[in-house]
């Protein structure tokens, strides 16, 4: 603490920001598309605006340690509010903008929020709706003033007015904000991110400046990110990944954040910006590929031929070329030609021409999908992490990509496995605590300082981490070998014809599965073969469909047989459910995850039938329609046997 102003060390976000404003004042820090044109804000302008917002908040009475609620799409001024709050030693709490008012009320109460910065009228209306339940809430500040003309409530204030208040304040007391910034330290909580709450009520995860700065530094160093990167910020600000990529890493490296015009324009904006660094969950990559393939089907004969040729070449050697592995010169030439004719233009259409590093996480990505993007020359990689670890645990190193692993522990992170296979992690990126939940904090961090991720996995021979399932879902077959239902289900779901799957096998002799077909994909498949059907239940019972799914299951069995740890998990018997699993019936969570226990109770008859050797079972189920009416669906379900394979080689799991 020899430096009286505390500016020497860049260990908090406000200090990083002020340093960028000095070192690279004219470089673009943020872009936003407004009225169809990209508007740029330089680092100096961003710092100026952040100062104004911070001083404005201080004028309203915002104190050190206060929480600032932030709700809205990825707008520059909302990111500035995050930084402004941190300048004052406050804790920003971002909320999912599409959450209903009730869910927001919970977070506002739990985090005892007095000030909130929201995007627009829609969010203001939610705040007004829950105002009664949140007596602590004193000020709501809105970014977009559209439609706000008739709101006379003194509880509301426009961000423009707040900024002009702040600018005046900053002029009259220029030392005030610098003083506040110098009071901050690396161990202060920099942000609170709420967990999604799939298991119980959402918890506020408190992360320090140091945790996010260390994670961001590690990531930037790992992928050699510089101030020249461009990133499109379109994922919810409340999600840890966005905070790491669009906020922490940008603050550390000084690169440019680009905010799309609106949720619907993301694809166009992506193409216009051409980011060099990109993140998307697997479903985004999947949708993009589907769009491409559908449009190719409508293309002329010649174009389809050239496309098929290019895809063949890319499949054969694209991944190897990207990884810098040896490839024959004839293949190199063909790849060069494909790139010229198809792959280059294709990447351009997708907005991927300039991508150096792309990441995906959040769900398992299908191997074909993953391979496709790598083969066309996009350096797509996987990472693993959670809110509690700043989304920073494992990263796939360039050139060492394995389809089914999440890579090696990131710089500065220590990963070890518990006896039951649970992944334990330790490092600077760990959470400080769950807000006001010492019990939960104590439960999730053990006495040696390791965080219990709740995921089960193992290291392969090269030291890459493979995630198989949630630790609590992992069971054992009667033979004693490990049973990871999610691992099997994900493999099934990678087939376009399978929408959902539920695997059973814990404390049983063998593995069985329920399967939900994808109505659109399977419907298309049978229609092209001239078969008519009347609806989901009818389609699911067609022998042609059963045969199709059986082939999928057998392919999975062949894959499982090749993996010594999973060879016993081959699916012996399966059935296709007569109805789609639905969140309205309580079978799925709202985020579309299967509620395993509920499903196994509801369909106990079917599970018994799977294990009793019957070949058919009658079932009648209550269903809720979207308009709230109740009904019944009944069917006689066929139970199919699938071929299983002998475990390959004599290798046994050590």
């Amino acid at each position: 603490m020899s430096d009286p102003r505390g500016q020497a060390e860049l260990n908090t976000f406000p200090r990083l920001l002020m340093q960028h404003a000095q070192q690279r004042p004219t470089r673009p820090a943020m872009r936003e598309k407004e009225y169809g044109i990209w508007q740029t804000y330089s680092w100096a302008e961003v710092a100026q605006n952040v100062r104004a917002i911070a001083c404005g908040l201080a004028e309203l009475g915002f104190k050190r340690g206060d929480r600032l609620g932030i709700i809205g799409d990825n707008r520059p001024r909302l990111y500035w509010s995050v930084a402004a709050c941190q300048c004052l030693g406050g804790i920003p709490v971002m909320m999912y903008q599409d959450a209903v008012a009730e869910e927001m009320a919970y977070v506002l109460q739990d985090a005892e929020i007095k000030f909130a910065v929201v995007e627009d009228q829609e969010q203001v209306d939610k705040m007004l709706e829950i105002r009664e339940q949140c007596p602590l809430l004193e000020h709501v500040i809105y970014d977009d003033s559209r439609g706000m003309r008739h709101y006379a409530d003194t509880f509301l204030l426009g961000l423009d007015e707040l900024q002009s208040m702040g600018t005046a304040h900053d002029k009259s007391q220029p030392d005030f904000l610098d003083g506040e910034i110098s009071k901050g330290g690396p161990d202060d909580v920099s942000v609170m991110l709420y967990t999604s709450g799939t298991t119980g009520k959402p918890k506020g995860v408190c992360q320090t400046h140091d945790a996010f700065i260390q994670s961001a530094k590690g990531g930037c160093q790992f992928d050699k990110l510089t101030e020249n990167e461009d990133i499109l910020s379109y994922l919810p600000m409340a999600w840890v990944g966005d905070h790491l990529f669009s906020y922490a890493q940008a603050m550390v490296s000084g690169f440019t954040i680009n905010c799309p015009e609106s949720g619907e324009t993301v694809m166009t904006d992506l193409r216009e910006i051409g980011p060099t660094y990109y993140f998307a969950p697997p479903r985004v990559f999947e949708n993009l590929l589907t769009t491409v393939l559908i449009r190719m089907e409508d293309a002329s004969w010649l174009k389809r031929k050239i496309f098929a040729f290019a895809m063949d070449v890319a499949k054969r050697c694209g991944g190897e070329i990207l990884d810098g592995k040896p490839v024959s010169s004839s293949d190199r030439f063909q790849y060069w030609l494909s790139n010229l004719l198809i792959l280059g233009p294709l990447k351009n259409v997708l907005g991927f021409s300039r991508i150096r590093v792309a990441y995906t996480a959040g769900a398992a990505i299908g191997p074909d999908l993953f391979r496709f993007y790598r083969s066309i020359g996009i350096n797509l990689k996987q990472l693993y992490g959670q809110t509690e670890t700043c989304a920073y645990v494992c990263l796939q190193p360039d050139g060492q990509i394995k389809l089914d692993s999440v890579g090696k522990p990131a710089p500065g992170v220590e990963v070890k496995l518990a006896e039951n296979g649970e992944i334990l992690v330790k490092g600077p990126m760990l959470l400080k605590a769950y807000y006001k939940r010492p019990d939960a904090t104590a439960e999730s961090i053990n006495e040696d300082g390791y965080f219990l991720t709740g995921d089960a996995g193992f290291f392969d021979e090269d030291g890459h981490l493979k995630i198989i399932d949630r630790a609590k879902d992992v069971g054992k077959l009667n033979s004693g070998s490990i049973f990871a239902p999610n691992y099997i289900e994900n493999k099934l779901k990678f087939f376009q014809h399978v929408k959902e799957a539920v695997a059973f096998g814990n404390e049983r002799d063998y593995v069985t599965a329920f399967i939900n077909i994808d109505l659109e994909a399977v419907g298309n498949y049978v229609e092209r073969r001239g078969l008519a059907y009347s609806g989901y239940t009818d389609l699911a019972a067609q022998p042609m469909v059963l045969q199709l799914i059986k082939e999928c299951v057998e392919e999975i069995n062949a894959q499982l047989a090749a993996d010594p740890m999973m060879a016993d998990s081959q699916i012996k018997r399966f059935l296709i459910l007569h109805k789609e699993l639905d969140a309205d019936d309580g079978e799925l969570t709202r985020t579309r995850k299967v509620r395993r226990k509920f499903v196994s109770e509801r369909y106990a008859v079917l599970i018994d039938a799977l294990y009793s050797g019957k070949s058919e079972q009658h079932i009648e189920t209550d269903v809720k329609y979207e308009d709230g009416r109740q009904g019944k669906v009944s069917a006689d379900l066929k139970i199919e046997e699938a071929k299983t394979f002998a475990p390959q080689a004599a290798k046994t799991a050590a």
Partner: protein, 260 residues
């Protein structure tokens, strides 16, 4: 609501219109006040669209007079109506199907363009500055109607509900003081209707635009209108605030039929 309904700006007096022997409108009088939402309703063939066409001068009535902002005349001319700030949309969408959304809305700015055709053709001098200004206005309309994602899509490829919205956008781009909307919600689903209602109310509220509206959906009409005029077989059978009109026995008879 903050907007204040002002004085009468449009007055139709004793309008009669016939096509040969067919009497489309018989001696109809009503008025429209500044900033109000005025609906014209009636069963099919009642003469609603004819009435709108008389207002902006597409049809010329044989009898009666139109007073718009103090100017009395037998009939309007469409280009004069447009110059005086009356814009309209059509029952059967009348957009340029092959042109993009931006270009379609830009046509709404046509009357405001001051430079001559040569400047525009060469995109030179004042024309350039002018186009930038018009484009800005168009972008504001796009932002207002939340159609950023389709700004460059050819209109012919858009679903019906969005085409209707683009048409509203083109009318808005002319910055009219009065808008004539011919069945803006026909053929829409509930959600699209709700959106359209919201936009109409917002236009009326934010820009103070006077709106004359033809609509079949009674729920919508009764909800958003300040006053309603009811036509049946070319005659006016009711006029007044929504509640008044709803309880008018003639209107009920026209819509539900009478027992003989």
């Amino acid at each position: 609501m903050a907007r204040e309904i002002g004085d009468v700006i449009l007055k139709m007096e004793g309008i009669s219109l016939s096509f040969g022997g067919v009497k489309a409108l018989t001696n109809i009088s009503f008025d429209v006040r500044e900033h109000e939402i005025r609906s014209i309703i009636g069963p099919n063939g009642a003469g609603k669209s004819s009435m709108l066409n008389v207002i902006n001068g597409v049809y010329h009535p044989q009898e009666g007079q139109v007073t718009f902002r103090g100017e009395v005349r037998r009939d309007m001319e469409p280009h004069k109506a447009a110059k005086q700030g009356i814009a309209r949309t059509f029952q059967n969408i009348a957009l340029f199907k092959g042109m993009s959304v931006i270009d379609n809305i830009m046509t709404g700015r046509n009357l405001k363009m001051k430079c001559n055709v040569f400047h525009h053709a060469l995109h030179w001098g004042k024309a350039r500055a002018e186009e930038i200004e018009h484009r800005k206005k168009v972008e504001e309309v796009i932002d207002f109607l939340e159609i950023q994602n389709i700004r460059k899509t050819p209109v012919g490829r858009l679903p019906y509900g969005l085409q209707k919205r683009v048409e509203l956008g083109r009318a808005l781009a002319a910055e009219p003081s009065m808008m004539l909307l011919d069945e803006p919600m026909a053929g829409m689903n509930v959600e699209e209707k709700q959106d359209m209602c919201r936009f109409i109310l917002d236009v009326n509220d934010q820009f103070g635009t006077t709106i004359v509206l033809i609509e079949h959906d009674m729920g919508v009409v009764m909800d958003i209108s300040d006053r309603v005029v009811v036509l049946d077989y070319g005659k006016k059978i009711g006029d007044g605030e929504p509640d008044e009109v709803k309880n008018n026995p003639d209107v009920i008879a026209a819509y539900l039929g009478t027992s003989h």
